[in-house]
């Protein structure tokens, strides 16, 4: 069935404006920034924004850009805001075409601003309204210049204030899930982000469903049948009985589900 073959997912990808690549200072600036948080940038995907960039009309130029970014451990994966000819050349160079940002034209940054290199943006294979739970990358926080203002509304957590009854499934796509009532045995709550339950958690809770290993589950009364984070799971039989009924936090530590009373 097509529905199971094609799944939507939302990612955070850095966008580099094409004009920057021609700037002599760019490489040095990029190298300096990467040296501050090398792990963050290691093999990180990059999208090239071609808005107002007249060049990049041949596959060779895209290959060159790819080489340049590769030298700095970045991977060019696609382009956006391309003219038709540019899009064709990019496709020939094996680059994907990403939809333009749903927030409309980007702001023009003052030339003096040193940190024009990276900026988180949501690139979505799913409908655009399901924006990514995009945390600002550490790079943006360590930037010496002024913090760039968020140009997207923050993603709202999904809030459920009715009891989640047995047999019901609730999925918070691309965001956190907050349940202020009980989650019954036989119910299933799923979130791509974190899960917070303020009533008793008696059913199943699956956080980080899209693979986020940083996701956590918080609950006030832990009586769950099953908990899972990014695919790692525990059934109630495997849970320490002395933690039943307590307020706990569940996280993935060294690839193991860890339940901590709090």
């Amino acid at each position: 069935m097509a529905a199971s073959l094609v799944q939507g997912a939302v990612f955070t990808v850095m966008v580099v404006r094409a004009g920057m690549l021609r700037d002599a200072a760019f490489e040095a600036e990029l190298a300096e920034q990467i040296s501050r948080s090398p792990r963050f940038f290691l093999n990180a995907p990059v999208v090239l924004d071609l808005r107002n960039a007249q060049a990049f009309a041949s596959a060779a130029e895209f290959a060159e850009a790819r080489e340049l970014l590769r030298r700095h451990t970045l991977m060019l994966v696609g382009i956006q805001n391309a003219l038709p000819a540019q899009a064709e050349a990019a496709a020939a160079a094996g680059l994907a075409a990403f939809a333009p940002n749903s927030t409309g034209p980007r702001r023009v940054r003052p030339a003096a601003e040193p940190m024009a290199v990276t900026e988180p943006t949501a690139v979505s294979a799913a409908p655009p309204q399901t924006a990514a739970p995009a945390p600002a990358p550490p790079a943006a926080q360590s930037a010496s210049g002024p913090q760039p203002a968020l140009d997207r509304a923050p993603v709202k957590a999904r809030l459920i204030s009715q009891p989640v009854r047995s047999g019901t499934q609730i999925y918070a796509r691309g965001t956190d899930l907050v349940v202020t009532a009980a989650v019954s045995a036989g119910a299933e709550i799923v979130a791509d982000g974190n899960i917070h339950v303020y009533g008793p958690l008696r059913g199943r809770a699956l956080a980080g469903a899209a693979g986020d290993t940083e996701a956590r589950i918080f609950c006030r009364r832990f009586e769950a049948e099953l908990v899972a984070i990014a695919g790692r799971y525990l059934v109630s039989e495997q849970m320490p009985p002395q933690q039943r009924g307590l307020a706990v936090e569940i996280a993935l530590v060294d690839d193991r589900l860890t339940i901590t009373p709090n």
Partner: protein
């Protein structure tokens, strides 16, 4: 006052839906309200037996839905109370015969001449049970104090909140009540049964009544007499209390003993 449609439902079978439907309907009739009780358990016709009118059934609910009989040909008036009518179902058909628009037409017609329409739901969460609860204004969740019954009740409450007519049309939600039946204070004391608080805590819906496990219920079923007509029995009185609460009159809970440590707690307290 427009007629109220009350469904008695549970998910699980054998918890006392039909007994309770008969008792609640008879109780409302005793309080002077014109009441009809409909058997939605097509193919497993029991309500007529519990009501003691099985030998008077000619036409049934399905005949009326299909237009083969008129409503007044199928309705059976109770011999003990003039306000009480029984609407039996077919024993030969199955639940697929419950067409939603047909059911709606029959219920609309009943609304003109009754104060309360009591729907006795079949067990399960399939077509028959869904059709029985679909048009409800009020749902009475019949639950026994044991874990499987409570879980099934929880499931059916979820269905009421998502698949009923009121949910689908964004009307005020179905008013939901808990009726705890076959409650045995002795077994609760021994920790063999969930306590009232355990069940209330899990289901978090208001408690309409607690009916004690009682010989009189079995006797009532076997003689085809709704248990409320046996006014001296604890179960009969408990049902009459529940009917009073349904009518908005506060009543103290009776026939319970003080509870101690709950079964649920002790279950989870162990490894």
């Amino acid at each position: 006052m427009p007629a109220k449609i009350i469904v008695l439902t549970s998910g699980k079978g054998g918890v006392g839906k039909t007994t309770s439907a008969a008792a609640v309907a008879a109780g409302l009739a005793m309080r002077g309200h014109k009441t009809v009780v409909i058997d939605f358990d097509v193919g497993l016709r029991n309500l007529d037996l519990i009501m003691g009118c099985e030998r008077r059934v000619v036409f049934d609910f399905i005949n009326v839905i299909n237009g083969d009989a008129k409503l007044n040909q199928a309705l059976i008036r109770d011999k003990r109370n003039d306000n009480l009518y029984i609407f039996p179902t077919s024993q030969t058909r199955d639940k697929d015969a419950l067409k939603r628009d047909g059911v709606e037409r029959v219920l609309d017609e009943l609304k003109d001449s009754f104060d309360y329409i009591i729907c006795d739901s079949p067990a399960g969460i399939e077509h028959g049970a869904i059709t029985a609860l679909y048009f409800a204004d009020v749902a009475v969740i019949v639950t026994n104090p044991e874990v499987s019954s409570v879980r099934d009740s929880d499931r059916i409450i979820g269905i009421l909140a998502s698949k009923s007519r009121r949910a689908e049309h964004n009307l005020d939600p179905v008013e939901i009540h808990l009726l705890l039946t076959r409650y045995s204070p002795d077994r609760v004391e021994k920790g063999e049964m969930l306590t009232i608080d355990d069940v209330k805590e899990i289901l978090s819906i208001p408690l309409l009544g607690v009916v004690p496990e009682s010989e009189s219920v079995l006797r009532a079923s076997n003689t085809g007499t709704p248990v409320v007509f046996d006014e001296g029995s604890p179960a009969g009185q408990a049902y009459l209390d529940a009917v009073a609460r349904l009518l908005g009159e506060p009543r103290e809970l009776r026939f319970l003993r003080p509870e101690r440590r709950g079964f649920f707690r002790s279950l989870f307290g162990r490894a």
